[in-house]
Symmetry: C2
Subunit: 137 residues, 2 copies
Amino acid sequence: MRYRATMTSRRGFLAGAAGLATLGLGPPARAEGTMYGLIGKMTAYAGKRDELTAILLEGLGRMPGCLSYVVAHDPQDADAIWVTEVWTDEAAHRASLQVPEVKTAIQKGLPLIADFSDAITTTPVGGVGLGAPAGHG
Amino acid sequence: MRYRATMTSRRGFLAGAAGLATLGLGPPARAEGTMYGLIGKMTAYAGKRDELTAILLEGLGRMPGCLSYVVAHDPQDADAIWVTEVWTDEAAHRASLQVPEVKTAIQKGLPLIADFSDAITTTPVGGVGLGAPAGHG
């Protein structure tokens, strides 16, 4: 396995995956005009994955500039969730952390999370499923 | 970092990310009716990432059952590409490996790839950017 940590801290990923605006950590500097991606894993307390999943999926339609946000279960770990995200740019991701529905989800989800793996930040360059962003503008 | 290898071998990911049907490795058994996801990283030979990226993006519209396929650059590694995929089910992913355009991309891309990290297989459960599959049916 060659997965490497990038500039995103654990807390940074927490903010990224679950929309944790209240942690107030600024993301790393990044070039203008590029998409912004996150790949990361969180582990729920035993038996809490479904509940955490439902919270993560709440309010996803209300995030301007979100091109893709996939919540997936790890078939090898009954408590683990993978979250992969694509945003129009880093600013859109940052702004999403101020959305009231996202803040509410954070408050509900945090007590269910036992552990975070450091996130990978990426620069998406294209693909399938990156259509018009929901609520963009 | 807590990234764990699952049942997908390096070759399995090779098949997953670049559509390498010719390797002929069967994917692990999986429940019916669930989406199928892959997360993995490949490293191009020095200076070849852009060329490999273009090849990966070729023919993506021709994969029935593909809900999401994101090609992303690693901002920390000038040769690295992250690929994240979501399929309607595992059979759709497997079938994509027989698409002529995918086979052609494989033949063109393989000589540019220096290394693969083991892929994570996931069971996507929902999110943004998982609309009607391109060419499904």
